[in-house]
Symmetry: C2
Subunit: 311 residues, 2 copies
């Protein structure tokens, strides 16, 4: 069955949840209509404020996202949520499937919620997520939240996708978190110390403040304490996001989005070149180059030159 992309886009713009879901599926599955969808969405994008939420496992990201959605709905914002699960590059299966708490919003037609797997190794958020964001943006969401588990590179990628990046931490996360922190602390526009009713919240805030104070930038990230399970502090998070949005309006938003578009175009172009390289040189050719390297008859650089010359 041929899907009428223009009909779906029109439906999404009228707020039809099924059209939105269908469009996201088309971009997620890399359907042959992906390009057509992207072109049809183009005139309708650029309105949504994209909020990235990241943080180590166990800080309460799903609960916080849900609470934030509730707070945004109370001020009549249309909200999209894209929950990106880290995927094992080997099994292809999502690690964390339960989005139970998000069920609170399942019947609210001002909220679109979508889970995506972050396709393995290099794909990650750089894959289908930007396209899914464009769908939610074109569908009239005022705010799109991208939530990801901050294991490894995803927190960096999310900063690349978002207008405002929220970094969630919690008191007493232990040693393993230390290693994650440095990268995470550098990308936060707003910091949230969740589970703030626990011991150590003040210490965690102080640690963040120490790092943030050293930053050389106009924007000093606010640090908000929350208890997402009770909703405590969540309105302050909304206020902090609004503050940051106002700050961005001074030119920084365009700069961020331009940089994002550049990266996306470049990644798509490289993907196309990679496919073309495969087409032209063929699997057997690369195999014989690799065998030459393995036998010491050639080196990887010379072999790569040979591949490129064939293009």
């Amino acid at each position: 069955m041929v899907v009428e992309v223009q009909d779906l886009v029109a439906g999404a713009r009228r707020g039809e949840a099924r059209a939105v879901a269908r469009l996201i599926s088309l971009v997620e599955d890399e359907s042959p209509q992906l390009r057509e969808v992207s072109a049809a969405l183009a005139p309708h994008t650029g309105n949504a404020h994209v909020v990235g939420i990241t943080g180590p496992p166990g800080v309460g990201k799903s609960t916080s996202t849900s609470a934030l959605v509730g707070a945004l709905r109370r001020v009549d914002k249309r909200v999209g949520v894209l929950a990106v699960d880290p995927t094992s590059p080997f099994s292809g299966g999502a690690l964390l499937g339960d989005r139970v708490r998000m069920q609170d919003h399942a019947t609210d037609d001002g909220v679109y919620i979508r889970s995506m797997a972050s396709r393995g190794h290099l794909g990650g958020l750089a894959g289908a997520a930007p396209q899914a964001l464009r769908v939610l943006d074109a569908a009239g969401c005022d705010v799109v939240i991208v939530e990801t588990v901050g294991v490894g590179q995803s927190e960096v990628e999310i900063a690349g996708l978002a207008d405002t990046t929220l970094v969630l931490l919690a008191p007493g996360m232990g040693d393993g978190i230390q290693a994650l922190k440095a990268g995470i602390l550098e990308i936060g526009d707003v910091f949230v110390v969740n589970k703030a009713d626990r011991d150590g919240a003040a210490t965690t805030r102080r640690e963040i403040r120490g790092v943030v104070a050293a930053r050389d930038s106009d924007w000093k990230p606010p640090i908000v304490l929350t208890v997402a399970t009770t909703g405590e502090g969540v309105d302050d998070v909304v206020a902090a996001i609004d503050q940051h949005r106002e700050h961005l309006a001074g030119g920084e938003l365009d700069r961020r989005r331009l940089a994002r578009a550049r990266r996306e175009i470049e990644a798509l172009a490289l993907g196309a070149l990679r496919r073309r390289m495969g087409d032209v040189t063929g699997d057997a050719r690369l195999g014989s180059l690799a065998a030459d390297v393995l036998a010491g008859r050639s080196d990887p650089f010379t072999a790569a030159d040979t591949l490129v010359e064939r293009l």
Copy 2:
């Protein structure tokens, strides 16, 4: 000063530590002589057994690596160690600089130890590490250990570089580790439960065994308990690595190394294409395409096509 690459390679093959260090610096700094180094090394590579060591922060990887080096030295193996530190893509600084325990081997001329930063986002181990491995291989190391902190993608990349991948875990690592585990458990050829004198070692072993038993492969990864600080169990790790090496000799080693060479060639070719794309299209061109996308006049796919066509 022009460095005589052939002299350095000859020196490295005679066991001169300074020549080895110099060659690694040349590949790490992506010097203009990188290609020349790679070509000069080519005939002398393929002898070292590459052992990857990965695992979450806090399991005792440095201590274990040091203990393993000691055990390999006792059976007269020449050993190279490449310690890859995760680097923040923003600051460019290494997170974990202390390699204090490795100082034990600093005066042993049968051991080369080198720390490398894993250049940011996409570079990672895929960058200079394969070339540094080739240096240590050509320098006559019987075993080259690549140690990386298993945060995020690095544990997957290490499996791509290594002949034998050791996954280190420890009892009672807590929630954060759960999220890392699935990916890590799939890449291990040998599992080590370090800090086995702590509570929960048997439980951790049982958990690993459960996952490993489900694997559909000829090789059932051994699970070794160690206390790296005292050296307990470390000889068993050496034995497990030897077992795996024998297993690989049945054809699997060539398959792994061929796949590795293919990936390396492909990555270098893509890097060359990316640079060429930059040369041809220029920064300004990509900027104007990005501006078109941002304004809704174009979409990322159409913009990417334009970039590729210019090549």
